[in-house]
Symmetry: C2
Subunit: 126 residues, 2 copies
């Protein structure tokens, strides 16, 4: 099992690759059969192809999306979490929301599941 | 099912009752058979009696514990999460750490499970 610091670094890379629009780097953090539930309660995206499609759909909606970690990452064994600000620039508008992500990892440190807590009610303009 | 705002209010009360040292109010937010996994990966405290014992053990270790929400609460359906600073005053020392809590609720809005992400490695002096 990777160390706590290594898993924290993976979660930081998760936000950096997403913000950079680097689909290959971002999808590469997941296992082949990983799941993404974003937001929590919505149907899961299962497997890397579906996760890549989720990434692309998100980036197609905005000119730029920037994830900024606000609290954490905190890692406990094979699970981790962090709170972030999600800033989306769309045309002349910039909207932000708070999201809290919870991930599980496999023994090699790849992400096996992601669950993202966020709510449309939390969206605000900057 | 309670509204998103009602569940957010419960999570705020959770931090307020804990900070006030009000065991009755805090334990009363949970269902009779609720579970507390604090930190994530440790054995669960199962049921209100065990949850009260966990509360009392935590408060016995410090003169004062103050929970301050930093991000969220964010509620998705019957689940919610928030990031907080936990400040513990013990004698002449004050230590803080970041914790991210994830809760599930029953249809009446009582907490059925709590999982708290925090790590000893995140403890710092103030």
């Amino acid at each position: 099992m990777p160390t706590e610091d290594e898993l924290r670094a993976t979660l930081i890379r998760y936000t950096e690759a997403f913000s950079a629009g680097d689909a290959d780097a971002w999808v590469g953090l997941f296992t082949e059969d990983a799941t993404v539930e974003d937001p929590v309660g919505s149907p899961k995206h299962v497997g890397r192809d579906a996760i890549r499609a989720f990434f692309e759909a998100g980036h197609a909606m905005a000119d730029k999306i920037t994830l900024t970690i606000k609290e954490g990452p905190v890692v406990c064994g094979s699970e981790g979490s962090f709170a972030m600000e999600v800033m989306s620039e769309m045309g002349g508008a910039t909207i932000v929301l708070t999201a809290i992500d919870v991930m599980t990892f496999d023994d090699a440190g790849a992400i096996t599941s992601q669950r993202a807590f966020w709510s449309p009610s939390g969206i605000r303009t900057l």
